[in-house]
Each structure stands twice: as C-alpha cells, then as structure tokens.
Symmetry: C2
Subunit: 221 residues, 2 copies
DNA sequence: GTCTATACACCGATAGAC
DNA sequence: GTCTATCGGTGTATAGAC
C-alpha cells in the first residue's frame, strides 16, 4: 500500500516525536474501522477526529478503500514482525507455539483495535483491488503457514497428537482474535474488560492449558 | 421484535408453503446483513432482492434498524429453541456440553448466515433502541447462562477441571461461531468450504476433543 | 498541505395514488 | 400491500484558491 508518501520525511526512523498527518490519519482510522467496520465509518468522521478538513484526507490517500487497506496492512505487518522478533526457530514445536501465543496475546492487548480490525477484515469482501488484496492475503498466509509448520513438525516428531491442522489453527485464531474482539460480551462474562492485566494473563494461561492438554501427547500437569 | 404483524395469517403454523412477504424480507435481509453488516446493506438492495419496491419494506418494518433487530431476534430465538429441544436436563455436565455442541454445530451448518450474523452483532454497537437491545441481550444471556451452569456443576462435582468459566465460554464461542463465520480464511485452510458435510463432522469431533481433554478431569482416549 | 465549495449518487424515510 | 414520486441528509470524491 504505497498510496503516496508525501515528503517521505523520516526514512526508516521509528515513531518520530511529532507524528505526521499520515500517521495521525492511520491511527484514527484504525480505531474507527475497528469499532464500526469499513462501511460504518465516513471520511467526515475520520477527518473531524484527526482535526483536518475532509478533503485533506484525499491528499494522503487517494480513496477510502486505499485508506482502509493501508490501515489493515500496517497492522498486519506490525503483527507479523512481532511474531518474527521472538527467536523461535530452534525451539521444539509446542514451546514455539507457547512463545507465539504469548507474543500474540501481548500484541493484541497493547493494540486494542487490532483484534476487531483483523477479525472484521476476514468478513469484509471484495473491498480492495486485486493488488492490495493479494498483499493482505500474503500477510495472513505468512501467519498461518508459521502455525501450520509448527504443528506439522510436532505431529511428525510425536510431540503433538495427530490432530487436524487446519481445524486446530481455526481454534487458535478463535481463542485469540475472537476473545480480544468480543467487547461487551467478554466484559459481561469476565466482570471486567478483557484488556485488564489480570484478564490478559488469565487468557494466556487458558490458551497454554489448551496447548498442553489438547495438543501435547504427554500432558504436563 | 413485534414491529407489526399484518393480517397475522398463519397463527402458530410452521413454515407455510407460501412464505409471506414479511418472511421473504427477513430471509433476504438475514443473508445480506450477515454478509455485509448493518451499515453495509441498503434497503434498496434488500428490496431488489426480495422483488418489492423499496418503500414496501417500510410497510412491514418501520425502519432499517427495526428490520435488523427482527432478523437478529428471529435467528437468536431459533437458536435458543434448538438448544432447548435437546432433552438434556438430567445428563451429566460434560455429556450435556457434548449434546449442545452437536446441536449448535448442526444449527450453524444448516443456517450458513447465522454464525456471521451473530458474530457481527457482538461488534455492532448502539444500533437498537433500549427495548430491542434488552431483548437481544436476554437471548444471548440465556445461552451463556446455560453453558455457565453446566460448567459450574461439572467443576463442583469434580467431573470438570477447575478452569475459568468465563474464559472457557469465550473459547467455546470462538470455536463454534468464529469457525463457521470465517469464510474464505476457513476455506483456504480446509481446502473446501467449512459447510461441507465432512468438515462439519470434523469440526464436531475437534470440539469434542477439546471438551474431553481440556475440561474432563479423567480424559477418555 | 490544507482549505472552501461543489458535484452527484445514494441513503433512509414519507406522502399519497391505486 | 405495493407502487411512484419525492424529501432532506450524507456519502465519496474533485476543483481550485491559498
């Protein structure tokens, strides 16, 4: 999603002290798209919350769809980068999954918009043009393939039960994305926000429990 | 959602041979809202797909919001009714959960719109008026409380591990709703639609496996 | 880069004929 | 019950001044 890079001010610098308009727009749009979905957000609302005129948005992003894609790709890239940060290559499969789950939970907890944004993006259809959609699909695919490889490896070595890999991946996504996207329902259930530190930790342990008891062939108590 | 019941033709009769306009509208709107969400669907699209003029919809439902609520309530009521069909009261907790999961998977498989419709409704906010929202909340609550009671009972009797009840419910919802709502992602993973009979059965077994290995204190192989 | 003004399609909803 | 016609508002997007 290189929709235009006006002035290209900070080459490679991370989090400049004064965020550019482009970044302010992305941050605002991310929160709004996560809360209300693509068609539930108007450019007017975005512009008002950013503090710019409506038409100024079109200087930075040529259309609403392009803005949406930019938001989604930025989040997905950050997300994937975090997964790769963890030095994980030489861990045994289940330990690798543990590390990933920890990282994913941390990421979703630090960016409360991500879970809803990513979940919604799986339901949204035919918004992006072919090119943008392919970039997005590739990012999702890179997440799935990492999981897939770890499971496959573990099953081959006997560390993991011979479960259905796709169904297990679906479950893992549901356990993480859905939980942090569940909003009011989750809050009603837990008695407090899913983003409370205590609940975040509980979620981590809950998923760990799943990994150890459903997947592992020799469960540890 | 009693927005009006013109003529009230078939009192209590189930699935009349010739569906009323009201029912055709509900069916069409259900599919559309599930696919594109509340703000992604216009009354124009609904009316065209039903085969009526746009303004005829407003004879049957006083507003778009009321139509949405009617769709959601109808689905939720059907859903809850199916859960209650199963004679389940005197089963031990884990067996009761098994039976429910079977029923839920069957229901979601028979009504491909439901998973997305219900999942989306958890993200949609402040659409219905206070009265309608309360009806919807009550229906969700009745599902959650059934699950909650079964888990609590099982933990008390020692049949189920002392897991976090809210987190377990979240996981169960994620495993069912998310899976059948996942659309293209699920299809890419499985290699075929999540609604293929073979995949439906696999899903049932996958959740059963979870119930037996994560929840049960003495897992059966 | 940001603004004002504007084009034009579509939205939800209503009025009134049949 | 369904239609046509129409209202006011909002949607995305563009033109052009500064």
């Amino acid at each position: 999603m290189s929709d235009r890079s006006p002035s290209d001010e900070e080459s490679g610098a991370s989090t400049p002290a004064t965020p550019s308009s482009r970044e302010k727009i992305l941050d605002t749009a991310e929160a709004l798209f996560a809360r209300s979905g693509f068609s539930g957000v108007g450019m007017r609302t975005v512009s008002e919350q950013v503090g710019l005129g409506k038409s100024s948005l079109f200087y930075h992003f040529s259309s609403k769809v392009k803005l949406y894609c930019a938001v989604l790709e930025r989040a997905l890239e950050d997300f994937v980068a975090r997964l790769d940060e963890a030095r994980v290559q030489d861990m045994p499969p289940v330990e690798r999954l543990h590390t990933w789950v920890d990282g994913v939970v941390t990421a979703l907890a630090e960016h409360p918009s991500w879970a809803r944004l990513l979940l919604r993006s799986l339901f949204e259809e035919d918004i992006a043009d072919e090119h943008d959609q392919q970039r997005i699909d590739t990012l999702f695919e890179s997440i799935v393939s990492r999981l897939s490889r770890a499971l496959e490896e573990g099953i081959r070595s006997g560390e993991i039960r011979p479960v259905s890999i796709p169904h297990t991946i679906q479950t893992l996504i549901g356990m993480t994305l859905f939980h942090f996207a569940s909003g009011d329902l989750g809050e009603d259930l837990l008695g407090e926000s899913v983003f409370e530190p205590k609940q975040i930790q509980l979620r981590r342990e809950h998923i760990r429990h799943y990994l150890d008891h459903v997947l592992r062939t020799s469960p540890r108590t």
